[in-house]
């Protein structure tokens, strides 16, 4: 497909080998990233299908499309699939897997075989969860709260919990691989303070994966044991404390939010710098903010439990700690904004997504402060206000960042360009559709509509209809990239090695990269985002 006939077609990771086996047994981090991309996309659209069912059901207040039980299963499966099988692995397992070794200038991750194993574990966990879904579903919500999950639910709780438990190891292995790779395999000259911010944020997320995931793993296992053997660990009827489950669950599941958002923040840092042609404003602060978020993230979990019956004093402690975690996020937002100041800004698709991210994340983050404020949390927790807030952070933040990253690195991944016009349309649709979907939920939440309601009082209907309308726009916005990415694989123009003239080691190799990434080990001599130097060089990169 090489357009320049003078350049012989280079062997790259995509054409180095053919056949199913060459993919299923690969240890190449780039191929594993693509395996993840395919499976995660499948889960994303499955979770999205459930989301559409939820929105359709809520078009009318009466609860007439699905039965109550079915609806409960639908939102539970939506949550379980989106959280554990899409959001948590998305940026790390796809973009991180593809980019971390290249960004550090290595041939592969530290443990390539464990990397492949992590994908198989992900698939195994996914299959078990899908099996649980097909054979009756699960209706506990993604939070598996006891004693409902241990004693009262009549659905496949054990299977679903085991699926999530197994999937956890995939996350652990990815995190472990990233930490070791970033510590030990950096190219000569790539010191910590020259590290691209994408690596910093993935490193921070990896720390959370390694430290947090095992706790939720054992917690879900205890739930499964309790259900199977009628042990009394979390069941109040047997003298247990349901709040202990919540403590253990949120010890992981709150930091898990940062597993989702931190790598996304890394993507945004890369893209903002590239399309502003500038060094990042306040590198040290942005990098340390990632670590700060990761550590502080472990100190705030009980803000999910302010009305759950924890002590007054514990609530105070967790409230103030939660306030602190707002600070590093604020630092990031301000530094990104400042990076654009006096830049030379181009609004290509990745930049549109990045800007969208900053806006939506700002709203998502600030509404998080509402929930940290004890007096307000009492009113809005467990309502649609919460639903709106975390969708602003996860969909408005994380998914925007994921789309941003896909558009930014697609030329590197595939070697092809996607149609700019359609990608801009899709970015716009996602932004508009997202706000239309989730902004009304803030209002309906403050009005008092509880989450996980199959039927609701009629005066909430208008806002719910708006939300459903937005969701359909959002769906189109997410389907479009599927089409044009697939199209670009065959018909897209060759992207060249560095279409954005971006900094970073990953852009110094060919597109798609060769199997071992670099023909010779790169040596780093400057700090990250040296756009002044790049822009002052002759533009050889434009030649394909």
């Amino acid at each position: 497909m090489a357009t320049a006939a003078t350049v012989p077609e280079k062997t790259n990771y995509l054409n180095a080998d053919y056949g199913i086996k060459s993919w299923l047994l690969t240890t190449d981090h780039k191929r594993i990233a693509l395996l993840y991309l395919a499976s995660i996309t499948a889960f994303f659209f499955l979770g999205g299908f459930f989301a559409m069912l939820i929105r359709l059901e809520l078009l009318t207040p009466a609860g007439d499309l699905l039965q109550a039980d079915t609806y409960n299963k639908v939102f539970s499966m939506h949550g379980i699939i989106m959280v554990f099988f899409f959001l948590i692995p998305s940026v790390p397992a796809v973009l991180g897997n593809f980019l971390v070794p290249m960004m550090v200038g290595a041939k592969d991750l530290a443990f390539p075989r464990i990397n492949l194993l992590s994908w198989y574990i992900y698939i195994l966990g996914g299959c078990i969860t899908l099996y649980a879904m097909i054979t009756g579903g699960v209706d506990t919500g993604w939070t598996f709260y006891t004693p409902f999950s241990t004693t009262f639910s009549n659905t496949n709780v054990v299977l679903a919990a085991v699926g999530v438990f197994i999937n956890g190891f995939s996350s652990i292995f990815t995190g472990l691989n990233f930490i070791v790779t970033i510590h030990r395999m950096r190219a000569p000259g790539l010191t910590w303070n020259r590290l691209p911010l994408f690596l910093w944020s993935n490193y921070a997320a990896a720390v959370i994966m390694v430290l947090g995931t095992p706790v939720v793993a054992i917690t879900l296992l205890l739930v499964a044991f309790e259900r199977l053997f009628h042990f009394g660990i979390f069941n109040a009827q047997l003298g247990g404390d349901p709040l202990l489950f919540q403590h253990l669950f949120w010890f992981y599941s709150h930091p898990a939010v940062y597993i989702m958002i931190l790598p996304g923040m890394g993507v945004i840092s890369e893209v903002i710098c590239c399309f502003s042609r500038k060094r990042v404003f306040g590198y040290d602060f942005v990098a340390l903010a990632s670590i700060g978020i990761a550590v502080l993230g472990f100190l705030v979990w009980a803000h999910h439990m302010f009305v759950a019956g924890i002590s007054l004093y514990a609530a105070l402690v967790f409230s103030i700690l939660t306030m602190f975690v707002a600070i590093p996020s604020a630092i990031k937002v301000f530094n990104w904004t400042a990076t654009m100041y006096k830049g030379s800004i181009r609004l290509d698709t990745p930049m549109l997504y990045a800007i969208g991210f900053i806006g939506l994340f700002t709203i998502g983050g600030l509404t998080g402060v509402f929930l940290a404020a004890l007096g307000i949390d009492v009113h809005v927790t467990d309502t649609y206000f919460i639903v709106a807030h975390f969708h602003y952070v996860m969909v408005g933040g994380m998914v925007m960042a994921y789309m941003c990253g896909l558009h930014f690195w697609w030329p590197k991944i595939s070697g092809k360009m996607y149609p700019e016009f359609w990608s801009k349309i899709s970015a716009l649709l996602v932004f508009i559709g997202f706000n239309l979907t989730f902004f009304p939920q803030f209002i309906v939440g403050y009005l008092g509509m509880p989450r996980r309601y199959h039927a609701y009082p009629p005066e909430y209907q208008v806002l719910n209809v708006l939300s459903t309308a937005g969701a359909s726009v959002l769906a189109v916005g997410y389907l479009l990239p599927m089409i044009y990415f697939a199209w670009s694989l065959k018909y897209g123009p060759d992207a060249g090695n560095n279409p954005w003239r971006a900094a970073g080691l990953e852009w110094q190799t060919s597109s798609p990269p060769p199997t071992f990434n670099f023909d010779e080990t790169p040596v780093v001599t400057t700090e990250a985002y040296n756009y002044d130097e790049i822009d002052n060089q002759p533009q050889e990169a434009e030649v394909v």
Binding site: L190, A314, T521
Partner: protein, 117 residues
């Protein structure tokens, strides 16, 4: 460092690559000594358990357990002979485990205080 394999290239300026102190590595004699110490500690803790020490019995048992764990980690797991990084990794685990225990207990201990104040 004469490696040509870029995968094993280590940055020089990170200060993480510490020369292994091969000169005074662990010896069989030391392993036996640690083993004896562990057995003695086990005997001790069983012995102490039969004495009524009231509130002190749990802390003492846990202190002995910690001494045993440290012995195993330092000598059998050879963390004494590893890079500082390994120690940092291990200590971070205990730090975050401590956070889990302390912050969870903060809730349980202070529940009784709700009524007061």
């Amino acid at each position: 460092m004469s490696h040509t394999d870029p995968r094993s290239l280590q940055t020089h300026d990170t200060g993480e690559s510490v020369e292994l102190p091969h000169s005074h590595g662990p010896t069989t004699k030391m392993f036996i000594a640690v083993w004896i110490a562990l057995l003695v500690a086990t005997g001790l803790t069983v012995l102490i358990a039969s004495i009524d020490l009231g509130a002190l019995s749990a802390p003492i048992a846990l202190t002995i357990a910690t001494i045993k764990a440290v012995l195993v980690i330092l000598f059998f797991m050879e963390i004494k002979y590893q890079t500082k990084m390994t120690m940092t990794v291990l200590l971070s685990a205990f730090f975050f485990l401590g956070l889990l225990l302390c912050l969870t207990m903060a809730d349980y201990i202070s529940r009784a205080w709700n009524a007061t104040f």
